[in-house]
Amino acid sequence: MSVTNEIITSGSYIKHHLQNLTYGQFPDGHWGLAHTISEAKEMGFWAFHLDTLSVSFVLGVLFLIFFYRVGKKMTADTPSGAQNFIESVIDFINENVRGSFNDQNPVVAPLALTTFIWIVLMNTMDLVPVDWLPYVAQKIGVWFGADPHHVFFKAVPTTDPNATFGMSIGIFILIIYYSIKEKGADGFAAELTFHPFGKMMLPFNLFLEGVNLIAKPVSLALRLFGNMYAGEMIFILIALLPFWVQWSLSLPWAIFHILIVLLQAFIFMTLVVVYMDMAHQKER
């Protein structure tokens, strides 16, 4: 880090790296960028993480533009280049959806595709060396007249629980929507109350099934967040070492992390498809 007059401890370095660029409402009521970690904390709920939002937005748009442009030029003749790549991705998604989803719903496969690619891209930001994007952000911030030490930038959206919970809540809404649509409100209510122990144990059933239902989005979000956060954390810790040994740890970890990037996106996507399937199943 290129901060001049402050002594950087490893603790402050880590904290700085784990702080999002926050825009929100100060306790006194006006809106603005948080300059310190405690300021960001004080904003509480009424705040946006600009870095999470912008990076995930850019990645999502890149994904859609790329797929859209290739999709427009699709031919049924011999495919080549980008089309090959996209078709293999689509085939992969289709195979998964066909394997675990037994109903007819035109939303599920595109949903799985969006989920998978978007999460892969967001996770991949973890492979960019930890200081690069914050450094660039700092330069831009300084150019706008900000104190370099007050510019925060957390490049990996999936290490922000807001991103993972945002997605999993979307999935949760879909689960409830399709449960009611496919089984009817009464059918869904019956599923929540009459299983697994019959009518006599109704409150207990409701408790069990309610926990089961709530656990779906929570586990989705926390699994992805936890994995990516831990990975990012280790990259940050490796970055604290003297620069001439960093590669010996960061390289193997990055290679291992490629696996985690894909695996976590795959798990998320598969679970989304499975949850959608459960929402469509009429009789359990």
């Binding site: 939002l53 999709g71 049924a76 003749d77 496969a109 949903l111 595709l113 969006t114």
Partner: protein, 157 residues
């Protein structure tokens, strides 16, 4: 690490991306892939059909060849028989003709013989008459013996 409005921003973004993907990205790609699948299927079907058609045609051709062979054999047999018949017929005709010619010739011959004989008879009787005339001219009155001589010549015939 605090939960805040970012979550809803992310949720809205996720919904928008999914909607866009479902509306504009997914259908053309899947459609093109389906179309290719159908084309390949059709191609394979056509190939299969072509092969079976070819086999059928081969069988048919073999049948036709066999048929024509049979026909050719029939024709040859017929022709041979016909030729034999014709030869037989020709023989018959020729024999008949020959016998007819022979009969005609014989009839002619007989007629000629009869005629010649008659002529000879007449000539002989004339000669006899002349001789007799010459002889009798001296000794017999022609008028007296005419009747007897006529009876004689009649018995010769």
């Amino acid at each position: 690490m605090n939960i805040n409005l970012t979550m809803f921003g992310q949720l809205i973004m996720f919904a928008m991306f999914t909607w866009f993907c479902m509306k504009f990205v997914w259908p053309p790609i899947v459609m093109a892939m389906e179309e290719r699948k159908k084309r390949i299927e059709n191609g394979l079907l056509a190939a299969e059909r072509g092969r079976s058609e070819q086999e059928e045609a081969q069988v048919k051709a073999q049948e036709m060849i066999n048929q024509s062979k049979d026909q050719a054999a029939d024709i040859i047999a017929n022709a041979t028989r016909q030729a034999l018949n014709m030869v037989e017929d020709a023989k018959d005709v020729a024999l008949r003709e020959a016998s007819k010619v022979r009969a005609q010739a014989q009839a002619q011959l007989e007629q000629d013989t009869i005629q010649t004989r008659n002529e000879l008879k007449n000539q002989v009787s004339d000669l006899v008459m002349q001789g007799v005339n010459a002889v009798l001219a001296k000794e017999v009155d022609a008028k007296v013996h005419q009747q007897m001589l006529g009876k004689l010549s009649q018995s010769l015939s």
